[in-house]
């Protein structure tokens, strides 16, 4: 049963990493243009964005 002491923290922290990644994508507005993102994969241009932060425009 002691293995639980290792496994539970691991599972929780992996989940937390996923959650943080989600929060990061949300904060960088990666859900603003889903259709555009799907289309951009077909273009050869180097795509620099997640769309730049608007506040500094």
């Amino acid at each position: 049963m002691n293995i639980l002491a290792v496994l539970i923290p691991i599972s929780l922290s992996l989940g937390a990493v996923g959650l943080l990644a989600f929060v990061w994508t949300l904060r960088h507005r990666q859900y603003e243009d889903p259709r555009g993102d799907a289309a951009r994969i077909l273009s050869d241009d180097y795509d620099e964005a997640p769309a730049p932060k608007r506040g500094t425009d």
Partner: protein, 730 residues
């Protein structure tokens, strides 16, 4: 809310990437201070994106361009030397129609804060749900004693903060409805979440068997999903509707002592003098001081024939000046114009229609009291059976609340509406109002306007092939000298018939009358009947007069809107009664009705009579769909059960209608009626499905046999079934 704010500029990796772009493009970012957002209705693929972005970046003065394909917009950062007109010209040279958007009107959709907040809560609830489920599975499969208690404790540590954070939208709206002494759908939801969490916490600390943390969080997750879908649908519709109104950035040319200046129409005052150029829309009510022209009033009155305007003629806001420049003294501006007053009337009619109760409302109204009654009933009965065992009784009433909680109900309607409006959006229809689909499904008769709705409002010469080819060659040359819609249509028609223009010299356009010139030494005129000495007839016509010969008439029909014939045929096939109401002259209306096979038509109908006609139909119990575009239709649009207007319609008409046609084609209306009927059927089916699950699960909960595992299975199964059922919508 710190969750939606942004970290400092230095910490943002995207900003670093941006500066790389700018150096790559070789631009100086320091001067690129202006941001312009343009609507690009034509972009639809990856090729479009790179054409537009590369094309714009290549232009001097443009620092950055980024297309948003979902919203069909491009955001351009440029320096002050580049004007918006230059950008739109540049894009039209690239082959994309671009329309400037009013930034103020757009600001609320640019930053969709509520949407992102909901998404954040959804993500957190999902994380918590998955982790708690992991622990719960261990408990269900037999963990006992200390292990079970520890798993419950860890679950609690995850669930409680999650519920407090992610459940806020429900708690807030439940509190709001309680304060208004109503029992909304959110009251049983909040009660279930809170009760489930607190009873589970109590059980955890007392070493109980059952903890409902997974159910509480799962409930939050599924309901947030429904809430988010609902929000998306409405946000998309709202942003598109705002875009339509942001398209009209009304400007006027004011004449002052210092010369002409371009100002926003909103700043004009009574007594100002404005110049209205040919092709421009009249921004104010006013009186013509000088100049002669023809005025297109189709949007206001439905007349397809332009009328003459000279000094002292009265103009109304919304009319379009066709041929000559006019100088106009303002008699009413802004909110006092007849146009704005009409729009205000519509707003009043609108609020009357907002009383429509949706299927979901009706379901919630019946559902909420029942759920509370069941839960409290169970509590009372078990208190009596067990002789006062509060813990057991509360456990059972919490289980009842959790199982009956309208998880599927909260998803049922948004999932169907999202699927249906997405489908209709692709077909070219924009649903502005959430309840429009349900109202559309009930429609049993259709009222059409003519000019601009079934027709495009642009003239089309009739039987050009029967005209003398030599005459046509002269007409073509003369027509080239004018931008009047009839002249443009004649020139286009002649070209389509392979006519080569004659040489006509000394072309002069006489605003308000026509064009004249010299052909083979003779004076030739193309214009109004009276000007060439002919008697005006019933139909819209332009007359050709060659000096010394009798005038020849060229008769016009209003060009049919694409899909109009197919739509009327489809409606006739369905046996839907069709009425045609037009403000135009009887000849033109009869011609169109015959062409389309509409038997019930009325001509020269006044705006008030249109509204009265529709109101009478509604009062007699019919569900009326009104399709119209002009100011003369707005009252009727607002009076109808549900209304549709084309994107070319006047602002006031679009505001008054529930659905806007985004393309030129009108045929999608038939599709809309079909999809609406299907969507309503799906909503009813979804209600039946969630009711079915309750019929099985509630008795088990009432007798105290429900376990957290059962609650979880019932909840996820019913949510998934209703979502799949919604996606079945074709």
């Amino acid at each position: 809310m710190s969750a939606v704010e942004y970290p400092g500029a230095a910490a943002c990796p995207a900003c670093v990437a941006t500066s790389v772009t700018i150096t790559r493009a070789g631009k100086q970012a320091a001067h690129a201070a202006e941001v312009t957002v343009l609507a690009l209705p034509g972009v639809h693929c990856a090729g479009c994106i790179s054409t537009v972005e590369r094309g714009l970046i290549a232009r001097t003065g443009v620092a950055e361009a980024r297309v948003n394909l979902s919203l069909k917009r491009v955001r351009i950062r440029h320096d002050a030397s580049v004007s918006v007109e230059e950008l739109t010209d540049h894009l039209s040279a690239l082959g994309y129609e671009a329309l400037p958007l009013d930034m103020v009107a757009l600001s609320s959709t640019e930053t969709d804060r509520i949407g992102r907040e909901l998404l954040m809560r959804l993500g957190v609830a999902f994380f918590a749900m998955m982790n708690i489920m992991l622990l719960s599975v261990a408990v269900w499969s037999g963990a006992s004693d200390a292990t079970r208690d520890m798993f419950h404790l860890i679950s609690a540590a995850i669930a409680l903060p999650t519920v407090i954070f992610a459940g806020q939208p429900f708690f807030r709206s439940a509190w709001a409805s309680l304060r208004n002494r109503r029992l909304g759908m959110d009251v049983p939801i909040s009660l279930a979440i809170i009760l489930a969490s607190s009873i589970s916490l109590y059980e955890t600390f007392n070493g109980g068997d059952h903890a409902y943390f997974d159910a509480a969080v799962m409930l939050t997750f599924f309901l947030l999903g429904g809430r988010y879908l609902d929000h998306r649908t409405r946000a998309v519709a709202r942003s598109a509707a705002q875009e339509l109104s942001a398209l009209e950035v009304p400007r006027a040319v004011r004449l002052t002592a210092a010369g002409e200046e371009t100002v926003a129409a909103a700043t004009l005052l009574v007594g100002d003098v404005v110049v209205i150029r040919p092709g421009g829309r009249v921004p104010v009510d006013g009186v013509v001081l000088s100049g002669e022209s023809e005025i297109d009033r189709a949007l206001l009155t439905g007349e397809s024939l332009p009328v003459f305007a000279g000094p002292d003629a009265r103009l109304s806001a919304g009319e379009v000046n066709l041929t000559g420049p006019l100088t106009v003294r303002v008699t009413a501006a802004g909110r006092d114009t007849s146009l704005a007053r009409m729009a205000d009337l519509v707003a009043v009619a609108e609020s009357a229609r907002n009383r429509y109760t949706t299927l979901a409302d009706r379901a919630a109204r019946a559902y909420s009291p029942l759920v509370h009654l069941l839960s409290f009933g169970a509590f009372g009965v078990w208190m009596w059976i067990t002789g006062g065992d509060v813990r057991h009784a509360i456990n059972i009433s919490a289980a009842v609340l959790i199982i009956t909680c309208p998880c599927a109900l909260g998803l049922a309607v948004p999932a169907v509406v999202t699927a249906a409006s997405g489908r209709l959006f692709r077909a070219g229809l924009l649903i502005k109002d959430g309840t429009a689909l349900e109202r559309l499904a009930e429609v049993d008769c259709v009222v059409f306007d003519k000019t601009g709705t079934l027709t495009l409002g642009t003239p089309e010469p009739r039987d050009l092939a029967l005209q003398d080819a030599a005459d046509l060659a002269v007409v073509m040359a003369l027509a080239a000298g004018s931008s009047h819609p009839l002249a443009v249509a004649l020139a286009r028609g002649a070209r389509a018939h392979g006519i080569v223009a004659e040489t006509v010299t000394d072309l002069v356009e006489v605003p308000g009358y026509g064009v004249e010139g010299i052909w083979q030494g003779r004076r030739v005129r193309l214009g109004r009947a009276a000007w060439v000495g002919a008697a005006p007839g019933q139909d819209t016509a332009a007359w050709l007069q060659v000096e010394g010969r009798a005038p020849v008439a060229f008769v016009f029909d209003d060009a049919l809107r694409p899909g109009a014939a197919a739509l009327i045929a489809a409606l006739n096939r369905q046996g839907m009664p069709i009425h045609l109401l037009s403000g135009d002259v009887p000849g033109a209306v009869r011609g169109l009705a015959d062409r389309l096979g509409i038997t019930d038509w009325q001509a020269e109908v006044l705006p008030a009579d249109k509204a009265a006609f529709v109101q009478a139909l509604v009062a007699s119990g019919r569900r009326v769909l009104m399709v119209g575009d002009g100011l003369n239709d707005t009252a009727a649009l607002a009076a109808a059960t549900v209304s549709i207007s084309p994107a070319s319609a006047l602002d006031a008409a679009r505001v008054a209608s529930d659905i806007v046609l985004t393309g030129r084609d009108i045929a999608p209306i038939a599709e809309a009626l079909r999809v609406a009927k299907k969507a309503t059927r799906r909503i009813r089916e979804n209600f039946a499905i969630s009711f079915g699950y309750n019929v099985i699960a509630v008795p088990l909960a009432l007798v105290g046999l429900a376990t957290p595992l059962m609650a979880a299975v019932a909840m996820s199964l019913s949510s998934i079934t209703v979502t799949l059922n919604a996606l079945r919508l074709k």
